[in-house]
Symmetry: C2
């Protein structure tokens, strides 16, 4: 690594991601305005001892220019009941939401309100104001403690957090939601605090092995099986990196090493993928000579955190079904827009009409007898012989065609609730150039990367 | 089992396989004539202390009508040197062979002479006349002891031996040569002596499991890993059934059980297989929709005990080569006439042009680095990604066509010496209907059973 190169790249990237003074002022003023509204509405509604708090990257100065997210927590005394919290919290939030461009109630452990307000994406989240993380009553109660820890330790490292977040975005590993299974904002902040700078985080990652532990407060960690264990400074039992998948852990190691080989602006800002055209897809089919299938159905109307786990589970289930029937799956993928698509690449989509079925050893008399008489009675056995001491029959293969197998059997597999409902309504299996029927632009970009 | 059925079948079968009185007289007279010739020629050549002995099924009354085999042993005193034995033995045998229709010298541990003499297939085998099996100087020296043991114990059971031999012929498991890997004549005799009758042998076999031990003399057996262990009554260390393969062991269990379900004459005398015609083969190809390939070369001019082990080894080697390159082999077979053929049935004879190659885990830094830089430099990589923490590259498959693979690589495999020589001269790979080029009648019968 040439330090001059890195230093000048750092400046170049920061220029693109660091909020301007105008942006900061605007964000502060909107946040202040909203917090004041919380407090005054609580007063007006005679809800005592409520206080608003700005949390998240906006509160810590670690937000990337252009992302206008505000997390406003409406905090209630610890002794408040769950019902009161939900009732009063929503009552205050709803009144604020009247001034929003649009708003909706969402549900995590509690209901909360998400709204568009003066071009900001705002979450208004009721929580309990507890004494310590030991006594939290709801998962979100942890957030103010995270906020406090970062604010106390991040000073002077904000740029490094910005760089790390953008670098992870470029590498496709930023975001801890179930769709991405990558690094959360809090996690990047802890990593920068632990290692001391953006570059030092990457330098450390180059030598990570699964099971790597970061324990800033020296809590001593419980055993976690996750690829990366970052002990929560505010809650020793919790692994902040629990959502990180092995592949994203590995990808981060990979891109970190690449950074030190040749740091480029493009690592932070990769070019957007191009839509794969019809002739391009045909050409790829011809050069691969594999079999590509797509299972297509209407995307269920649920949030990403519900949809994507079901989609990933379906990839596994579909591959398992195909392997059960002796097809060899080389690769799977999934995408969701208006339609949801599970893509599969197979060695071949057709198998012989004949199947070799291996029975029990000849000397296991009862089983051997049942096996033999079963297949002697069956009218469609090609042949029966003995191989390696076992009976072997050659019988007609139930599904010699992968497309037919998926069409007939996929509906019977254990799939996620919402995908199952959508598929029981209608689904389709496309093969080869049949996939070109799918025209959604996002799908074509995905396809271009996948195939 | 209906005992009456079995009893009448026994009579029917015996009628077809028991030598007539005329046959017996003829065999005895030819055997006596040959033994006299041995003795008188030895006398004339001044070779002292030689005596001829008839051994084998002819000596024991356990030969099947129509098989005219005579084993005449020319026995020399124990103190004779190996050189003397070979020189004098061959000298006597050669003189007898002058009167044969044809004769040839063959080699086992010693040279011996095989000849056609008065329509008998005669082996003239020199051996040492030792005191006990402990002191044998050559493998054939054991035979006179076997002969003695059987003659002393078989009386009254000869018909049962005939039935067992014929039943095993019908089941394709008779013969201990390396081509068949089945039951030897001596072994059938011991089994009849041990169990007491033909039917009792079959009844016992119904419940055999691999490792079954027959130890007539209660020698206590050394550990053998063979499927059937029959301790040689004349040599406790030797397993008489050592040549029996697991599959023939299993087939014998299978046909024994069938016998008690429904004993038929056809079990002893199955109809000869029919030659598969061109349209029949095409029809089978169409109904199986698998890929059938044949490797064809000139059969090396060696005895079966040399040829067949090489042919079976080649089946394994060819299947292993195909599996190494990701083809799935369903079945193999081999046959030899003028041409030798190794047949293979594959799930498919073509694979995608693309191959998924799985590399090291990302976190094993040195290997990961070498892998990545190797494939980054290669011009023909389709794509590189991370899956389950490992680098994966999609690269062009070296052999997407099984026929091409065999044509180019089979010659480099470790094959038997004589097959290797024949193939280095010329071989051919046929596929699907291309196999119809092979017209030899015996091959077509084999093909009809195999496919």
């Amino acid at each position: 690594m040439n330090t001059n190169d890195t230093r000048s790249l750092r400046t170049t990237v920061l220029k693109q991601i660091k909020p301007t003074e105008d942006e900061r002022v605007l964000l502060s003023s909107v946040a202040d305005e909203l917090m004041k509204m919380v407090n005054s509405i609580a007063l007006r509604q005679s809800i005592p001892d409520v206080s608003a708090q700005l949390v998240g990257s906006a509160a810590r100065g670690t937000w990337i220019s252009g992302t206008h997210d505000l997390d406003i927590f409406i905090t209630f005394p610890e002794k408040t009941s769950r019902e009161e919290l939900e009732e009063h919290g929503l009552s205050i939030a709803r009144e604020i939401a009247r001034d929003a461009d649009r708003s909706e109630e969402r549900y995590a452990e509690h209901p909360y309100i998400n709204m568009r307000y003066r071009d900001f994406d705002v979450d208004l989240v009721p929580c309990f104001r507890v004494q310590s993380p030991d006594s939290i009553k709801s998962a979100v109660d942890r957030t103010p403690f995270h906020n406090e820890f970062i604010k106390q330790n991040i000073s002077g490292l904000e740029d490094d957090v910005l760089l790390l977040k953008q670098f992870m975005r470029g590498g496709g590993v930023y975001g801890s939601e179930l769709r991405t299974q990558g690094f959360s904002g809090y996690l990047t902040e802890l990593m920068v605090i632990h290692f001391g700078s953006f570059e030092k985080v990457l330098d450390g990652a180059c030598d990570w092995k699964p099971g790597f532990v970061i324990d800033i407060m020296g809590h001593g960690s419980l055993k976690h099986k996750d690829p990366l264990v970052v002990v929560d400074p505010t809650d020793p039992k919790r692994n902040v990196a629990a959502a990180l998948s092995l592949d994203n852990f590995s990808r981060f190691i990979d891109v970190s090493r690449s950074f030190f080989e040749k740091p480029t602006n493009g690592m932070f800002f990769p070019l957007p993928g191009l839509e794969l055209t019809d002739p391009e897809f045909t050409e790829r089919l011809n050069s691969r000579k594999s079999a590509i299938l797509a299972v297509v159905f209407k995307t269920p109307d649920v949030v990403d955190d519900v949809l994507y786990p079901q989609l990933y589970k379906m990839e596994q289930a579909t591959a398992a079904l195909l392997e059960d029937y002796a097809f060899t799956v080389m690769k799977t993928g999934s995408w969701a827009g208006d339609d949801a698509v599970v893509l599969l690449e197979l060695m071949t989509s057709t198998l012989p009409d004949i199947k070799k079925h291996i029975g029990p050893p000849v000397w296991v008399r009862t089983h051997a007898g049942m096996f033999k008489s079963k297949y002697e009675k069956a009218g469609d056995v090609f042949s029966m012989y003995i191989e390696n001491g076992r009976y072997v029959v050659e019988i007609p293969r139930k599904y010699a065609d992968a497309k037919e197998l998926l069409g007939e059997r996929l509906g019977m597999c254990s799939l996620g609730k919402h995908i199952s409902a959508s598929m029981s309504n209608e689904f389709e299996v496309l093969e080869g150039e049949g996939v070109l029927r799918l025209k959604e632009s996002g799908f074509r970009v995905f396809l271009g990367e996948w195939v």
